[in-house]
Each structure stands twice: as structure tokens, then as C-alpha cells.
Symmetry: D2
Subunit: 361 residues, 4 copies
């Protein structure tokens, strides 16, 4: 199976390096007749775009998407949708030192071991820039699941977590708050703290990790499959496949391992519109299949590996050296992970909607 393709019925393939002429995605299996043009996709790319605050990389990319196929007279045709985003701000010269030595925490050494050489410009294929293609594909996927609403928030940076009650209240009062601050953060107090925290890391040439939480409401019961195509297994692959991700939880995740069976139960009651659940420890998925509750995923992003502090490493000849990364980098790559997590959630859910319809009618 193609290692640059994701999905089963709704599938997408991405291509492109951070410093090539362009990158893109081909989305295949999209239902026909959905209204689609560039302007639907662009806002999702804009949300992910770098250079919008001092808390993200200063690389300036317009990230303008072009649809090259699969749409006719404003509607999807059912054939492959080719999405292309040109690279405009590449500055390959920033990466001259990287060509010689392996950056610890980066894929440099592993790539070289695999392929015998590597595209050292900005990490080549393993650049976080690839996620732009996913976000574009995810925008298409959202059209397939209009019944679902997907929101991802950053809930922790550098170990400093949001206040969940405050976040819930804020979300209720101002549903756009999290989208209007540079951290995709639903807690106004955390925003203040994180501004300081991330800025300090940035000025120190250091970096921070983050946790992104994503919920999808409106998913009906019945999407997914019992075992190797479990909805949660596909979500885990989707999220772990994002650059810099090191952990994935569904529902209570690791905290569930500390509960008893009683504490972890999600009791059910009759409700006006089908069953009501009195809790959602399961994160909306049981036995690999959606239960009708919100699907909840939590994703851990490691701190950006590119830091100004010199780190011990070796060069291609195997000699000891040290490296510090001078390019323009995100002090906290997890922040821009929020739109990417949303995109992957949309792609997995849309795929499973079609799979369910295919098998069960």
C-alpha cells in the first residue's frame, strides 16, 4: 500500500517538499455533486499558515491553493481532485549547515539510512510544510460530512494546561474565541500565560511541546469497524502520521488505565433523540465503532527539534560535531498542529462515512 496515501474509500495522496516548486494532494473517491471551489479551502489553509504571529515560524507563504481537476461548474465530479500549493519563500541557503550534519530529533539520520541520501533543504519531505496539503484535503473531506462539526484546540503548551471549566464557558459565550487568538486556545487566561511562555522560548532559541484536543460532534452511531479498520485505529494512524506527534489518546486515553470499570462506564439512558450517555470516557468510540457521542482525540506534539542551542551530533562521515539550527522555525510546532488535527479528523470520519454506507447501505 502506498506510503504517501491515507484513507480507504476517500483517499488522499500528498506530494512535495518544503523547498521544491510546489506541494499538493490528490483526493480520490470524493462523492460527486458537492459544491467546491478554491474559496472553500483557502480559510482552512489560512488558519494553518505560518508567519501570522511571532509565535510561529516567520516563513512567509501565501499558501494559495489551486484546484486542477475533479471539479466542474463548481461541483465535485467524483473524479480525483488535484490540489496544488506553490512554494514561494524557500531560502534554501538557510540549510547549508544541515546538509553536512544530522540534526538530532530530526529525521535526517533516519532518512539517510533509508534512502542513501536525502533532500536536506528544510527536511525535504519531512518538513511540517507537508501538512498544508493535508489541510487542503481535509477541507474537501468536510464537504462529505456536513452533519459533523470538528474543532481542535491547543489544551497544553510546555506542560501548562488550560482550565477546562473556563474553556467550556468561554466556548459557550464566544464560539470563535479559540480561532481568534494565535494559540487556538479556548481559555483566555492560558492565552495570556502562553504568550509569555512561547515568547520566552522563542527568544531563547528554544522550543516547547503542546497537546491538541479535537472533538467531532454530530457523528452518528455506526461509523467504524470492529478490528483492523477501527475508527480509533484509523484516527491513531492519522494523528501519529502528523509530523512531531508522539502520542494519541481516544477519550480518557491513558487516564482510563487508572480508572476502575465502574468509573470508566458510560451509562446510557433513554433520550428524546435516541440514547443519552451520562459520560463519555470512551471518547465516542466503542469496539472501533462510533457511539453517537462526540468523538474526542488528544494528540501530543513534541517540542520543535530545531533549536539554537548547539547539540552534539555526527556528520555524514560519522565524525563528531555539533549543530545549531539557524533557519526560521516554530517555537512550538504544536500550535499550528490544531488545523492539521482537524483536517485529519475530517478525513478519517468522511472515509468511514463512505465505508459504512458502502457496506451497510
Amino acid at each position: 500500500m502506498s506510503v504517501n496515501t491515507f484513507g480507504r474509500l476517500l483517499r488522499f495522496t500528498t506530494w512535495g517538499e518544503s523547498h521544491g516548486p510546489a506541494l499538493g494532494a490528490v483526493v480520490d473517491g470524493c462523492p460527486p455533486g458537492l459544491e467546491l471551489d478554491d474559496s472553500w479551502i483557502q480559510p482552512f489553509l489560512d488558519a494553518r499558515r505560518p508567519g501570522q504571529s511571532k509565535f510561529t515560524t516567520q516563513r512567509q507563504e501565501p499558501d494559495q491553493v489551486h484546484i486542477l481537476s475533479g471539479v466542474f461548474e463548481g461541483r465535485t465530479t467524483g473524479t480525483p481532485i488535484s490540489l496544488v500549493i506553490e512554494n514561494t519563500d524557500q531560502r534554501s541557503k538557510d540549510y547549508s549547515e544541515v546538509a553536512k550534519a544530522y540534526r538530532p530529533g530530526h529525521a535526517d539520520y533516519a532518512y539517510d539510512a533509508k534512502y542513501g541520501f536525502r533532500d536536506y533543504r528544510g527536511g525535504g519531505r519531512s518538513s511540517a510544510r507537508e501538512t498544508a496539503a493535508r489541510v487542503a484535503a481535509g477541507a474537501v473531506a468536510r464537504l462529505v460530512i456536513p452533519e459533523v462539526s470538528i474543532t481542535a484546540h491547543v489544551v497544553e503548551i510546555g506542560g501548562d494546561a488550560i482550565d477546562r471549566e473556563l474553556a467550556a464557558a468561554t466556548r459557550l459565550n464566544d464560539s470563535q474565541f479559540a480561532r481568534s487568538n494565535p494559540f487556538f486556545c479556548p481559555d483566555p487566561k492560558a492565552v495570556k500565560r502562553w504568550e509569555k511562555l512561547v515568547d520566552e522560548a522563542r527568544l531563547a532559541g528554544s522550543s516547547l511541546g503542546a497537546v491538541v484536543e479535537c472533538d467531532a460532534t454530530g457523528v452518528p452511531a455506526g461509523w467504524g469497524a470492529p478490528l483492523y479498520g477501527k475508527l480509533d485505529a484509523d484516527l491513531a494512524a492519522a494523528m501519529m502520521g502528523i509530523n512531531a506527534v508522539k502520542g494519541v489518546e481516544i477519550g480518557d486515553g491513558f487516564a482510563a488505565a487508572r480508572l476502575t470499570g465502574e468509573g470508566n462506564a458510560d451509562p446510557m439512558r433513554p433520550g428524546a433523540d435516541g440514547p443519552q450517555f451520562l459520560a463519555n470516557h470512551a471518547g465516542g468510540i466503542a469496539g472501533g465503532i462510533s457511539t453517537g457521542q462526540p468523538v474526542v482525540v488528544r494528540v501530543a506534539f513534541k517540542p520543535t527539534s530545531s533549536i539554537l542551542t548547539p547539540v552534539e551530533t555526527i556528520d555524514r562521515a560519522g565524525e563528531a560535531t555539533e549543530i545549531r539550527t539557524k533557519g526560521r522555525h516554530d517555537p512550538c510546532v504544536g500550535i499550528r498542529g490544531a488545523p492539521v488535527v482537524e483536517a485529519m479528523m475530517a478525513l478519517v470520519l468522511a472515509d468511514h462515512k463512505l465505508l459504512h454506507r458502502g457496506q451497510c447501505g
Copy 2:
């Protein structure tokens, strides 16, 4: 793509319910010429088998595996290997009440929503019994990667974690210790505590969660792929696809999100046999590709959902009722998860070894 199949080049498909006549796996894509007979697989099944201590379900299954194809004169032929395990201790009568109402925490309601009805005997396809087929398939996968050594331990039960220093020392002195206690636990003191903990849960009709950690040493640098076929993404799907799993971490996992870039770096030094790493926060994988360090995965198992305490639920007609599960169940399903996690690790690594050889020679 088949939702009961896992893998890319080395693939396996499992079939069977806990209360049907048998269950099994078909392993496809295995290299030819490997020595294989039933006796190679059986010990792995024995390690997973229930009923060996009071800490696991009292269901008694010999779990005897039979190879029905793909082996000739003691060697794999390169054609599909069909593995069958008969079910002998089924007692369907235990499940009469389950047929009427949905067990919270189980897949009962989700299955019904998906398929319109369900096999209510022991959870049918979503029974943990399916993992026997994975363990058998995993034993075949180990033949493909003789250079790799895989060990999974239970490192936490009910929130009570092992002492990692003691565990490391014990592992050094007695490499079989963890295999010789009923918890796959490398820390002798934790064994004592867990005996009490799990027994109390069992007697109370309650259940506990657990965390399993698995390391694979001997994986060379270069297995995996940059993005949608990332080694860690495939591991995440593999582990999240195991029954009762709610979280997966690679290397430091969620803890990495609390580190700085400096703290998370794995510096490299020249070594006698290639590069040496001074740390392994990455868990042996960078950019989706193995680095040559041990591959480390951590997996969270929720507490068994079947408990004696009545839980509020609804029946198929949507009416309020409550349910307590009277069958024979594991008080901590995570314990027997250790051999399953090992099997999935073996299957993913063997698959990526073949993929790497296919693409890169």
C-alpha cells in the same frame, strides 16, 4: 481496504467470534523458506492463554493452533499461511442477559447501530478472544525479523506503576522474570502489590486498567516511511486496534509535550558500530523511520467493561434498564495485553522490513 486485514506486504486477516466453532488468521506475503511448525507458535499462544491464574478470566481454552496451509516440509512456501484455533469452552448461556440490553463500555450499542443486529455471544467479533489470532500471526512475523528482540511488560495497573530502576536491574539479572509471573511485570515489588490489587478488584466484581510498554531492540535504522506509512503511525494503528486500548505513545509520548527542545534532543556521538545516541526520547523513530535505537511503544488499556456492579443502560427497545455482567471476565484485560502488544510490534516491524527491502533493495 479490508477492515479485518492489517499490514502492507506482510499482511494478515483474522476471522472468528468468541463463541463460534473456531477463530483464525491468514498470513500472506511471508517470505519463503522460513522454518515453521505448530510448536513455534504455540508458546506465544500459551503466554496469552486465559485461565492460568486467578488474575485472568477462568474461561479454559487450550488455544491449540493448527497450520492448514503455506508450509511444506517444515518451511514456509511464500503462500498464505492459514492458522486455526478451535473454540472449545464457549458456554453461550452466560450471555443471555446481554442479548437484551446494551452493556455500557462494550461495543454492543455501536454494533447494533452499525449492523442492525449483533452476535451477542461474548461480544462476538469484538471479544478479546480475537487477539489469539493476532498472537499466532505475530509468531510468524517474528520469523521474518530474527535480528529483532521484542519484549512487552505491564508497567502500570490501576494507576500503580513499576519502579523503573528496579525493573531494569531485575531484567538484567533475570531476563525471564517478567515472563514467570502472572503480570508480565519486570518489578518484583510491583508483582506483590498487584497480586493484592487485582485480587481485590476481582473479588469486588470490579476491574482495573493497565499500561503495557513494549521495546524492540535490533531494529536497524531505515525501516518505515516519511508520512502516511510512518513506522510510528502503523504502530499506533496496530496498538489502537487491540481491544480495550485507548492510548498509544511512542518514546516519551505525552511527556515529550512537556519538554523543551533541548530536553527532548537525542544527541548523537560516533560509536564503534555506527552512531550512538545519548538518549532515546524519540523511541527509536524519527520522521517515521527507525533510527537504530530501541523502538519503544506504550499502550493504555481501559479497565474491563464487564463488571458485576449494575450499570444504567437501555435495552434494544430503548427502554431504561440496568445490567451487570455475570460471565467469566478478566479483572484486568491489560495483563493479557502484553503478548498481544508484542505480536502487533512484530507484525508491524516485519512488514516494514519487507517494505524497505522492496523499495530500497
Copy 3:
């Protein structure tokens, strides 16, 4: 992708050798709720079963199928359906000579070149016996497409073709005629001729090729896909994947290459129930998608390679020798191809029905 699996949404994997203990298929992705038990499948296996006339191999196999999973209380559950058929009449001793030298026309040499050794008992995996597993899987597929009626006939043996007008008339008068003669032949006069022809070949230790034609009526317009998942491309793979097949045609096939555009057009007229076509040169498929006309496929089977006449060959050491095959073999393997072609047609159509429903609702 697995090389022993066929299909996209409705997929099946076969396993087993002609001289192992059993062979079987796992059918995955079947819709839930379909009525299924052994007795539905058995007649299809019986139609293919050898030893029923002197015109097929005298190997005696009851070919009794057992469903081991995926069915509960007489209905499919939506989970994998495991089908097993035991081998009972194996007589491995017939194949002693085959172990030493390569039989020309068989896969012996190619297998050895690929795998480094081979299961020489009856051709191992490449035995036509494997098609029993396909036929069983095909019987399940038929349940998915009750709107479709599939019939395969042998239309030519040893270059002697049926009279198509006579066949059409016979089919109209006695729809079971073709099923009631040993050749699946719709032309009574050809039956007489073929009895003599095949018997002479059998007595001479020779063999004959055959052409099988299969039509599927009731396929609605719209199944298939424009390019790499074209309905005709999947049919071609399905049919060419049957042992001994060397050619596949859709509709007029090679004859279409001898027509002009005018002669090959299938003009359309308004009809009572949608469009009516005035011809079906296309064989019911245009641009990879069904048109609503009967889907027509023609399949060429080479003569059985096992013959009594000695043929020049080499042995494993590369030395010149000659071989004559003494086992029990079909004088015309294409005859028993008819039920297999039907099965593959059913599997492809059922798969595309689900794919179409998945993408287009």
C-alpha cells in the same frame, strides 16, 4: 497489497494447497443481515466438483464447505466469513516424479525461481483446486447482488464452437439445459460433438482448451469507475487470475478491433424502463462503468498442461530429461472453469455495487 486477496470493499482471501489438509477463503466486508448457511454455498461447489463425469479429473472430493465465522442465527453479521473445505483425496504419491523435474506449461519452474523451492504435490498453491475457494466466496457474493443473474457457458472446446442461434433458442426453452450436461454447454449439438472430442483427448492422454462466456443481467447503470478501478479492468484481473486463463474479452473483445466506429456503436432509444440499446458491442460497460445492458465477458482457457505424452524438460539440477504426467487430470480444465468464471463475475459485481453505494450513496 496482498497477493492472495481480491476485491476492494467486498474482499476475499484464499489459502490452501491441493494436497494440504484443507483450503478456504475469508470473505470480508459482506453486508450484514443476509441469509446464509452452508446449504446456500454447496450447490455452487457441487457444480464445480470434479469426478462427476469422465470428462473431468477422477479425483474424488466431496468439497463440503463449512462456515466457521461471520454468520449468526442464519444471517451474515458484517464480520469476516471464514469458509473451509477439507481435502480428502490427496494421493501425494502420484506426484513423485514431478518433484524432480519441471513440467512444461506448469508453474513448476517459475515457482522454484521465485521461492527457492516449491510444494510439488499437485502444483501446490497453483492447483486448479484453489478455485473451489473462489466458488465458495462467489456464492456469498451472489447474496449481495440479488438483482443480478449470472450465467457462464462453455462456448468452445478445442476450437469447436457452439451454434449461437441454437444455443439462444435452447436457453429460452430449457433454461437449465446448460447446467444439466457435463460441459455447461447451451447447444445440444455441440454437447454431442464435445463428448466425442473430449473423450478422445482423454483416451489419448492429451488435453484441450476451451472458451467460457459469462453474462450478467440486471446490473444497473453506474457500477464501476472511470480508470484504474474500471469494472472491465477488475473483471479482466479477476478472470486472468483464474488458473490456465490466457485471454479475456469484454463484449465484442478482439472482434471490436475489426469493426468500424459505425459498426461498433450501440445506438440508444427511449424505452419503457429507461434507455434501450439497439446493440451490445460494448458488453455492458462503457468508460469502465456499467451501462445497464448485460455485462458480457469471454475467457480463454489453455489446454491442461498435464499430458501423458512425454515433453522435453530439465530437472532441478538443470539437466535435460523428459516428463509425462501420470496423475488424474482434467482433459479440458476449461469445462470446470464455467462455475469459477461465474463466481469471479459475482465477486467483482458485488464489490462494485458496494463501492458505488459508498461513493455515490
Copy 4:
């Protein structure tokens, strides 16, 4: 599985319509380190390009390919190779009448039945223009199999076949002859006849079918797989997936069905460099696996469906009408099929080389 993707380990996905801004292919799984730039691919596209003689469509497209990813400093990196070809000569106005009524023989009606509407500009996705993307992908595949030499010829047009002896002699004397005439024809006398034949069809607004034969020499024994991944099954799917193809044969194909077992045998003798075969009825494939002989495939192209003669049809409202196609079309689409058949042969063989290496080392 994606219906616009072909291949297993070396996979490609195509996208684009004849009248959109561009079309292209993404090739995934290519081994790293192969020398590649636009100039390697361009000659293959040039061979397929229309407008080079009066025997092909007068549409003028430069078909200039651009590599957008997967190549660094002139070598493949092992990551996806994105190939883009701009459409420049689109003239959508030619297709106004097509929007209203279904062209018999085209996919118009089937598309509408499937998707609910269609891109009527030049057939949209089902235009033969899509094959440009395959040819570009095939050029990459050739790099993977430098040991193999692939040649496709047109061997029959409108029922007028080449003289095989003359063709063989010509090929021996002038290996470039077939490439230097507009018909990819190896027989100089047939070239003369076809010039007249095709020109008459063109002037009459009619069209002709053709048969293309392709051989691949240098394929070692051992590529392929026994059953559902048979080398011949994948070739059949590859060829039947080309626009206008209605039949595929391997080796003797349908003629094998008219031979006896003795006549169809390919006897083997010891040779200087491994076994020698005294015939090649099998077309280089036995049991789905290459034998080391030339792989031979024959492909039937129907006559172009677009003709000037009015044909009875219906419009979208189901009313009777008639249609004649006024655009610029190939009088014999099979002619330009030769480079496409070569490309598909290269893609299948390269894929199976990698698969074989993956499984068998």
C-alpha cells in the same frame, strides 16, 4: 482501494480531465537514487503526442511534463514524484452538442448514471488524454527495471494484420523502424496499406480498431505471484484499464484455447545461461510468475466512438435524438495506444520487481 491508483509497491495515481487546466500523475514508492529529470520522460510523451500526423487527432498539445517533487539534484529521493502536464489546446466549444445528448460508445450515459452529472468537455476524465499521465509515470517505471526492454507495436488495424515474418526481419535490420512510422508498425508493407486505410476512414468521418502487441525481454524468472497478484492478472487489469480496450491476451491468448496440450507445451532444454525454452506459447508467464522468457501481451482497441455519421441516441431527458461528433478525434485511437501499452507494461513489471524483492529478498 483507490480507483484512480494503480500498483502495489510502485504505485501511481492520475488526475485531470481533458479540458481542465492540467493533468498529472503522482508516482509513489519509487526506489531512491535513480537519475531522473524532465528530459528522460519527455520523449515517451512525444511518442504518444497527438497532432504529429494526419492519422491522429489534430489537437495540438505540447505535452510538456514538469516534475514538481521527489527529485533532488537529479536523482529520485524515494518520496512521491509529482508529474504535471498542462492542457493548452482545449477548445471547449467543440463539445456543446455533447452536453445535451449521450454519445453511443462513449461513457456519457454511464457517467451520468453513476455521478448524477458529468463533465461533458471532451469526455472529461474518460478522455484518452488521461493516458499522457500514464505514459509519464511509465517513463519513471522504466528506470526501476533497466534490465528489461519493452516494445509495443500495432499489429493490426481494421482487421488488416502485419506479416509477422516480415516484421521480425525488419525489426532485426532496423530496430527503430517501428518508431519512425506513424503507426508503430514493424511491417513496411502494412504501413503502406494502413496509410490508405486510416486516411479513408478519417476522410469518411469513420474510425477503425487496432491490436497492439507488446513484448518485454530481460524479465528474470520469478516476478509475479501465484493467484490474485498474478503477473498476468495485473497486466490484464493494466491493459483493460486503458481507454477503448476491450480484450487482453497473454502469449497465445485465445489461440491457446484451440491448441492441444502437446501443441501448447513450451519444452525446456538446458542452456548456457539457465534453461532454454523451445517455444513461448505461455507468453513468459506460468502460474502467474515470469519464466524468464519474453513477456508478451496483446491488446484490442475498439474503433474510436466519435464518428461523423449520425447515430441514434437519447438526450438527458430521455428523448430520442441523434448525434454526430464534430470535435477533433483519432480515426484509430489504437495507434497512439502503443506508447500507453508500453507504459503500463513498465509499471506492472517494475511493481512486481519491487514486490518480489520485498518478499523474497
